[in-house]
Amino acid sequence: MAKILLEMKNITKTFPGVKALDNVNFKVEEGEIHALVGENGAGKSTLMNVLSGIYPYGSYEGDIIYDGKVCKFSNIKDSEKLGIVIIHQELALVPEMTIGENMYLGNERGHKFAIDWNTTYAEADKYLKMVGLSESSKTQVKDIGTGKQQLVEIAKALAKQAKLLILDEPTSSLNEEDSRALLDLMLGFKKQGMTMIIISHKLNEVAYVADTITVVRDGATIETIDNHGAEPVSEERIIRGMVGREMTNRFPKREGVAIGSTMLEVSHWTVHHPLYPERKVVDDVSMYVRKGEVVGIYGLMGAGRTELAMSIFGQTYGTNISGELKIDGKPVKIKKGADDAIRHKIAYVTEDRKGNGLVLSQSIKVNTSLAHLDAISRHMVIDGDKEYAVAEEYRKKLKTKTPTVEQLVGNLSGGNQQKVLLAKWMFAEPDIMLLDEPTRGIDVGAKYEIYCIINDLAAAGKSVVMISSELPEVLGMSDRIYIMNEGKFVGEMKAEDATQENIMALILQSGRGA
């Protein structure tokens, strides 16, 4: 058995209210490619952030043993000194700078006050050759495609003398061809003795490239699968590990809700990327949702779900949007801007509640009324008493835990913030609610309460579209499920026909077919 390069022992990491990692054990052998797989939010990225020192020593429990020594990293620099280099999912390159400048950013050649540009570009060219790029290191990053930018990231990591390279979803923004080239490059590095950890959702790639696969679920390592055999391990085998959790009563039953006529109908909806208009982010999607129905849209991150919802919600995302919308049977054109969508009784509860959902510096009261100030004001003058009463009503209805509705939203827990966000949109009195990841990052108890709210909405005759990347949630809550991958709907299922395995299989098939 080869030498163990890295061992992470009993790692526990808690965030306020959430246990992100629970007693995780993780071993990597020298010279192997080790894959970490799991659903979104399972704890893979957290684990890697602990390893690379983004979460410093002391903010977690447990030990990191690297190359036989216990390590106490207090920042990324410390881990990079030992050759542990992480390449994040989002490219971290400055577009306006050259490849060479980017590669040595924060790691400049020569003296701090006298950068040696000759050495910089000469060394950069050397590493670019290693990753198979023929571009000059003096090319600006914005002039090369995403595939090549990913290679620049790897070259940058190599320039830091990486011994253990961590790649977080390296192929998520690449096309099939570039992805394959990248994976082959990884296999080439392995021959030269490099150790790598790859995080990926694309199980076919994992099966192709990895020697060992560790499955992470709910903040714990579930199992480690050996993939040294002649036959690559089957994707079904990996899926079983990823989703095989018990499902007992995590979802409240929705009983006796009559499903009515079609409320929202979207046909041949196509949306282009706002910055790269040649790219289709949503591709010819057709869907409908009825009164009192909860429709789930399942897809991995980057499948185009948020983009679909936001483009329907007053074209708040995308360009060159084409397709037809019907509300309650009548064709409608929604003008650009959320205000017109709200007038058409559509609400979009954002995925990122802190980033674009709530005004954290304001009170619960102010946030609750923000999308529907008309209802509590006359001639643009707000009736403060009425506003208070409304905020109070929703606090009680949604059981938001807070001493008073004058409390700043920034001081609430994630689950309670989510309730305020829901309250805001419920107060806007929509008929159609687009919920984007309504339970992301909140604990199990709060999730259950949110599910109850969703059931109440359906019971009140609202049409609910629930976007989620958590399969059990989609299965447990939806009447009908659309499956989305790479901008397209690749399947539609009734809840009773859907299983985790057949949904995953649909996504994998469509990915391979492309």
């Binding site: 919600f313 954290l360 003058v381």
Partner: protein, 390 residues
Amino acid sequence: MSVGAFFQKYTMVIALVLVVIFFAIATGGNSLMPGSINNLISQNGYVFVLAAGMLLCILTGGNIDLSVGSVVCFAAAVGCVLMDNKVNMWIAVLAMLGIGLAIGIFQGFWIAKVHVPAFIATLSGMYAFRGFSNVVLGGFRVDITNEQFLMLFGGGRDCYIPDFIRQWTGTTGKPNLTCLAIGGIAILVYVLMTVRKISVQKKLNIHQSIPGQIVTTALISGVIGFIIWQLASLRGFPTVLIWIALVLGIYQYITTKTAIGRHLYAVGGNEKATALSGVKTRNVYWFAYASIGLMAGLAGILTAARAKGIDPVYGEGYEMDAIASCFIGGASAYGGIGKVSGMIIGAVLMGVINQGMNMVGVDSNLQKVVKGLVLLGAVVFDVMSKRQKR
């Protein structure tokens, strides 16, 4: 409320009280005499007006308007030249307000619709309108001789509300009864509003410290009462105070009671979330800059009236006084946080320090150092107290 929280909430009020006491002692009580209080108001009229407008800009996300000093001078220059050419005073007044508003709308257009950074759009305005002022004035001072204008906007010794009550009753002497009456009514309205607020809180079952509110109301009433009494015992109610009170009242109302006020705070707090809530966020910026333009026009009127004319260098540095008042008064440099009441405290604090140092005879260069340190101190405190919370 704990002692720490109390100090945190009322730091600037406490600082103001300490500064007032300090200068009262240092000047042997002179700083609290009727003349000093009168001067404090007359001299700083433009600060209150500009800071009110500036507060809205800062609320949208720490954006500032650097052009107001130049706009004050330009608007005043046009008005003075008009009056110098025997144009009706009211047309001149409307011209000054109109010019301010038009400039505000013009700059707001670039900021809101073309996404020019506010700093740059207003910096260019700062240069351009200073230049225009010089052109309009031909490089020379223009005096105002229109007595009615001076009277109405508070320039010089006789610009006070006449004592109607004593005229009517045929008595003479001090104190100024009209001034006392106005002050008395103001305090009464304020007290009644607090009573109503407390009763609504009781009805809605909002738990707020009622004794605390009563004490606050009593203290503020006492301060207003003292100022009114001192003013009445001198010459009465300076006319400039009417305009200050009007502007502060309107801005207090806008920020607390109206939808556009709410939108200002929301845009500064989280622009994306606000846009997704159906608010036309760019129009909110436009509103803020149009409003400060109008205020610059009004400040131009007050400045010209106070100086009985306009010089091409008037208004220089006014933008900084307004910005400093807002930040000292607790407005966040990142937007979304700030109150008219805080801004008033900030402006008064700056005014008191200025006047106090003048009376004590501090070197004018040193005065700038002190003002700079006060501003830095206030913002450092703001940043630190927020960091503790995290």
